[in-house]
Symmetry: C2
């Protein structure tokens, strides 16, 4: 297996939304521009959500207007509803990433909608996007697809029922999100295989968090099951509001490093990505979880201790 | 695949040896006793090495004399040479873990011996142990089996040549050590499969570090290849002296958690192991890398935000 892997960089959205302090718009734009120069397939640049719900991303319009569009990079905006979709279209997003939850309580807590209410809203929303901007890609991100921090286990049958509905809406892709790092490799492998088998027309993406240390193990399991598109966040930014001190999204440079070491092409210039990751502690004012930045690439060689060799 | 997994807890040796400060002997003994009550298969309790080289473990004799031996738990001592083996026998270790490097420079830096010099010393050493203590298990740990921080790549052919020699010495098991976290899942799978196929009489163990975030991914790859014995350190203690800030050994409770979530029996009472891990920051005076202690088990459920549900 040497299938090419595609990285969707989500730090500007999933990472920054939970940061303790506001990052100035110019810094966000500079970060997105730096990321898109590394060869990533896509950058989730922002979300068009209520500034009250996510104040850190209240500058979504300014960010979309300020970034430099690089050929070959998809600029994605996360969107929960009609108002958000209109913002994303105005902002000329290449992809609108509709977000919903697989579990009732997470949907209500996060979006004030059950999965079924989200799906109802998506029907006119997808039609509106297709009519106004036929070239815009539409993806649906399914939060809590591997478990919900409030409701507990989410049955695979429920996840597939929801994806059946999304497939019927004719979205282009579906992202299976392990929102709070509850998934294990066996579960990831099983759900990814089921989704790939059931929806040959949908591009599946895997979005995992490293909350319990299984981030790259779950990425490996997804890749073994046939997933080629992965969400990840520079530095391992992001996180779960319920687990202070826990790790966030699986780390982009650690993910790219793993695949490169395995001989799997990612299209990403890892050294360039590491250089961007190295700027994060200064930019954000705190250490970040990424490991490769601290340890160096696997091939790094150290000088021998004195008197040896 | 639901094969039982066996955990060799190495924090008292591989973790403590690199700690910045001395842990009193009584605390070491209490830690080992607490660990052996959790259902782990083995505890690597100490090493019989030069106190000048590893001052933190200078109390190896006192530790082995002070611990409570629990039925069903193997108490292991790491040993680089004849003098160490005599210490381990005096200390009534159930298993002597002979350590050597697969690479010249790491062997010279760590043990003042090339692999071939280590192997020469092991011949009379194994004979001595077998004669004086036939019931003692003999394992050989092969450092830098997946790469050397000084020499770089270590060819699989070289690793197999060394294990051929170890197998000829009639040791009971071999541990493949990713000493500085250089291994990737594809490499781990390939070497583990080769070793399992070539040495049906040797029990193989996998020892990985999480230096570059791939710890549990490499454990998964080893398990998929047929490995059932894993070294791991409580809290993810340990580390690489060359990479300050990088993670250490793969974390025991995170490893047990992953397998339990996958439905694979480990024999370990995970809640009990987590309770021991929770004592580490106070015991050692610093935070530790383990994730499950911070985030809670995957099945943990959180109260709903006010006004929801």
């Amino acid at each position: 297996m040497t299938s090419r892997v595609h990285l969707n960089e989500v730090a500007p959205r999933d990472g920054l939304q939970i940061e303790p302090r506001w990052l100035p718009t110019a810094d966000k734009i500079a970060l997105i521009d730096a990321l898109s120069a590394t060869g990533v397939a896509a950058v989730e640049a922002t979300s068009f959500t209520s500034p009250k719900a996510i104040p850190n991303l209240a500058d979504a319009h300014e960010v979309m207007a300020g970034i430099q569009r690089r050929a070959g990079v998809r600029y994605v905006a996360l969107v929960p509803n009609q108002r958000g979709a209109e913002g994303a279209l105005t902002g000329h997003a290449d992809e609108i990433n509709l977000v919903m939850s697989a579990s009732d309580s997470h949907g209500l807590a996060n979006l004030r909608m059950t999965p079924w209410q989200s799906l109802e809203r998506f029907t006119p929303l997808v039609a509106m996007i297709r009519e106004r901007a036929p070239a815009v890609r539409i993806n649906a991100s399914l939060s809590t697809a591997f478990g919900c921090p409030f409701d507990g286990a989410v049955p695979e049958s429920r996840v597939l029922e929801i994806i059946d509905r999304l497939a019927a809406l004719d979205v282009d892709g579906v992202t299976l999100c392990d929102t709070t790092g509850m998934a294990n490799p066996r579960q990831v492998g099983a759900l990814c295989e089921a989704v790939i088998a059931r929806y040959p027309m949908l591009t599946p993406t895997l979005h995992v968090h490293n909350t319990r240390g299984m981030g790259l193990a779950n990425v490996l399991a997804g890749w073994q099951a046939g997933i080629h598109h992965f969400d990840a966040a520079l530095g391992g930014l992001g996180g779960c509001p319920f687990a202070p001190g826990a790790s966030g999204n699986v780390c982009s440079e650690d993910l790219v490093h793993m695949f490169e070491e395995m001989g799997v092409d990612t299209g990403v210039d890892l050294d360039a990505l590491i250089r961007v990751a190295e700027t994060l502690p200064d930019l954000l004012g705190h250490d970040v979880p990424g490991q490769v930045v601290k340890a160096g690439r696997g091939g790094r060689r150290y000088p021998l201790p004195p008197g040896i060799g």
